[in-house]
Amino acid sequence: MVALSIDNLPASEEELDFSDLERRFAIPEQEETLENVIFVDNLPLVEEEKEAKLISYIMKTLVKFGKVKENGIHMPKDDSTGKVMSKGYMFIEYATAEQAQAAIRGLNGWKFDKSHILLANRFMDVEKYSEVDDVYRAPPMEAYVEREHLRSWLADDCGRDQFAMYAGQDLTVFWNEPELPAEVVHTRTNWTETHVQWSPLGSYMCTFHRQGLALWGGHSWKKLMRFVHQGVRVADFSPSERYLVTWASEPISLDAVNQYLGEGNEHQNPYTADDEGHTTCVWDAYTGSLLRSFPPIKAEDGKAAKASWSQFKWSPSERYLARMTPESSLAIYDVQTMGLVDKKAMKVPGIQDFAWCPHTIIDPRTNVAKPEMIAYWTPEEGNLPARVSLISVPSKTLVRTKNLFNVFTCALHWHPQGQMLCVRVQRYTKSRKSQYTNLEIFRTNERDVPVDVVELKDSAVIFEWEPVSENYRFAIVHSDDPNPPPMNASRMATATVKTSVSFYAFERQGKLVQKEGFKLLKTLGGKNTTNLKWSPQGRHIVLATLRTISACPLEFCDVDFDQSAAAKSGDAGDAITVLEAREHYGVTDLDWDPTGRFVVSSASSWRHTMENGYVLWDFKGQQLNKASVDRFKQLVWRPRPRSLLTEEQKREVRKNLKDYSKEFDEQDERKIHAADAELMSYRRRRISEWVAWREQIEAKLQAETEE
């Protein structure tokens, strides 16, 4: 088999050629023996003299799971530093595959000592990344070296961002160009089967297939990893992309996976009998190994509950994964071991929803990360009030709780920077005839967690924190009618709802402010806004009416525009200005680029077939590009990791912005000039071709007429 390279990448999972693996495992004895070999990583590094001691120590544990074969332990060594040292991992050969399996379960996550938590895997899994050699080399290391620079796209000379577009059967990655048509980076037909997704920091593009999902990236858009999970529908990465949870509505079947992998490839099957029937998997995105799988949550009637998906959530540090069993419990897993924290789930009768505080907060005094937090709520039950609770993780101690009455439902909105939690409480009036909203805002980063209450006369249907701001601004869409409008079969609203949009901000006590709390800045009435989209940098927001057949306004606002007016009146709300009101016929989705410079509004054929495609706007509502794309489905911006620059360095850059500006202006001009010249010459070529053809055909006609 030809080695995989950029030029001969298989178009889909099915086309993957496994013949090399098949050949490699064709030797019968070896096939027999490899099933019972395990690979243990993360051992302490020891000098040669201490090797025997380490082995005899670990042996005590190894024998608990079965019989280790004679000479069945192999610990690779490295003498590159001049001193012979172990490399921190070993291979252990058990008598049987079952014993090996048991050992993996027992050893994986075992806390060997204070700083070493062992990782145990089937040798088969590890083998995927390395050549079988007489001398075992370090497979994970090699896999690492082979990897391309996954963040090379950040170094674009023009500072552009990428997006992926899925239309028809084609998935294409583009460079966004504000002045010119987007530039194709890479495109393939049938690259994904359902949709496309980026990992949270943009390193991986994730494609979904009948048999599982695949991660792509690097300069050559190679397949970096695949996860066999049949019928996979959803993937949720941990915040730093190390892990991911996948979910399929259909249960895992060992036989079906083996059938797909083909005879002789059973060793590639990540699942064991224990995973049979499960629907959720937790993977290590980096090594591709399955960390654990979970069965679907059973409803009371014993059947699988409909959506067991959104009940898994990563903590911001990605050290914990929490899972809710609606109305009964909250389980918090330590990702290192995939075991339950304190070995048991928390009983929370009635629990409806929970949310991690999305940001790890560093204590400024100690410079140490504060414990992570989870908020959850439980509804009214008999005489007991509804309740919002905040707990600290991993201690599970209660940080704050608040009782609420006449509650219809609650929604939890953490501020992205993690210092505030807004609980949007939908309440009944005393007569129970109508509803209204209370916003209970917990200042979670302050002592005793004070709660501010914003009482509305009507119902807030949308709540969005401004992602970055000093005074915790937020915007809401509110309306007399909290019910969503009627929808057609493809979930487009067939009527508009009269709504208003209001902005609030937090005011600290000061000379001018007597009562600390949230204050209404401004209300814009007479709208039919359905969605609020803040720029990731804050300040700019688009009020949009999406997925509505009869209306499609997009209003581009700047909440800090008219600062002089605000200063004059002393009312911060006066700075809020609608910069531009636009329309995009048939708009279904709207997304900001990761930097808040551009917005893309799009009309997806998943919803309708009216003028499918997208429009690129700048933050002030000027249309930059419009593309009609046949059977356009989806456009997703590639996220970016946090800038590596310190605040200091950024200040320095801003100080020298003039120099940069000069260069960028020149760069832009050159580019547009080149594109213009290219277009002109292209047109001239086509015109002259046409004219030449006409001259020739007219001469011929003349000759024939004279005949």
Partner: protein
């Protein structure tokens, strides 16, 4: 300029055509009546009454003295253009979907429907302008070997007849020898319209496959393609600007709501050579079935499923419009 609205038809338009001088506009529709109008002001001149079925097609000779119509009543009829007097009736086995005078006005071709056990065909009759009665004996009948022809047109010097077929293929006939000299796959769907450049050396086709294409007549070689997002019923070329105009839209049965925007009932302008869309003109409430350009290039007319004819006279800016190159 605001278009003129000709409200002389009650049913969907099937074809509209200007005479060679461009002062007259002929329109036919499923309501069995053919109408004649002054193109500059939309004044109704008269109608040709006599057909017993939906009218599909109309043409007149270069001197604008004779008019031929084809209809679903299995006849084609010859009319005195000015008085509206019926001069002759050809009886054909099935409906007549398309008629066209040859460039020298000596012949007329008629494309017939495939129905009731009758194969479709392209009939060519000789025209004798010295007397009203015409021969009922066709000069030739061209039969397609594959899918039925839907449209046909005369080539340069009337040497060939080109036909467009239901399966998207084109055939080039040496019609006098009843011989197919060339075939080509032009579209993925039914060919709905075919209009020749004035000298017959190339032509434009439209199809339900949402594209229109330009072909060289002598070779049937595809030269240009215009892609849209709507099934097309008609395509025409402007004589003075390098533009083509396309019309079509989703039939009412194919769309869930009847918003005209969703139905894509717009005339679309493309640059003939660069193949880019340059503009659209709205106004119809149903799919556009037929388009024609005034021979002097000063305007165009569209006929819709909504029974309306819209006659547009181009604004002065239109003539200034020019691509940079």
């Amino acid at each position: 300029m605001r278009p003129l609205l000709l409200q002389g038809h009650e049913r969907p338009l099937t074809q509209i055509k200007y005479n060679r001088d461009g002062d007259l506009l002929m329109t036919v529709s499923k309501d069995k009546v053919a109408n004649l109008w002054y193109s500059h002001n939309g004044e109704h001149i008269g109608c040709y009454i006599g057909h017993l079925g939906a009218l599909w097609t109309i043409d007149c000779n270069k001197t604008s003295t004779l008019v031929i119509t084809g209809a679903a009543d299995n006849t084609a009829r010859l009319w005195h253009a000015e008085t509206g007097r019926m001069l002759h009736t050809w009886d054909l086995p099935t409906a007549v979907k398309r008629v066209e005078f040859s460039h020298d006005d000596q012949y007329v071709l008629m494309v017939t429907e495939e129905r009731m056990g009758h194969k479709s065909g392209i009939y060519v009759f000789a025209i004798d302008i010295s007397r009203p009665e015409q021969s009922n004996e066709p000069v030739v009948i061209l039969r397609a070997s594959g899918a039925k022809p839907t449209v046909a047109a005369w080539s340069f010097l009337d040497k060939f007849i080109v036909s467009g077929h239901e399966d998207g293929t084109l055939s080039l006939y040496d019609w006098r020898n009843e011989e197919v000299v060339q075939t080509a796959k032009a579209h993925e769907g039914i060919i709905t319209d075919m209009q020749m450049w004035k000298d017959g050396t190339y032509f434009i086709t439209s199809s339900r496959d949402m594209t229109a294409r330009l072909f060289e007549t002598a070779t049937l070689e595809a030269m240009k393609e215009y892609k849209t997002d709507a099934p097309l019923n008609t395509a025409t070329m402007t004589p003075t600007q390098d533009l083509v105009i396309l019309g079509g839209g989703q039939a009412a049965s194919e769309v869930t709501t009847t918003s005209s925007r969703q139905g894509k009932f717009e005339s679309r302008f493309f640059h003939k050579i660069f193949e880019d869309e340059v503009g659209r003109s709205r106004g119809h409430f149903g799919p556009i079935n037929t388009l024609a350009v005034q021979p002097d290039g000063k305007g165009f007319a569209s006929g819709g499923e909504d029974g309306l004819v819209r006659v547009h006279h181009f604004d002065p800016e239109y003539f200034k419009f020019k691509y940079d190159y």
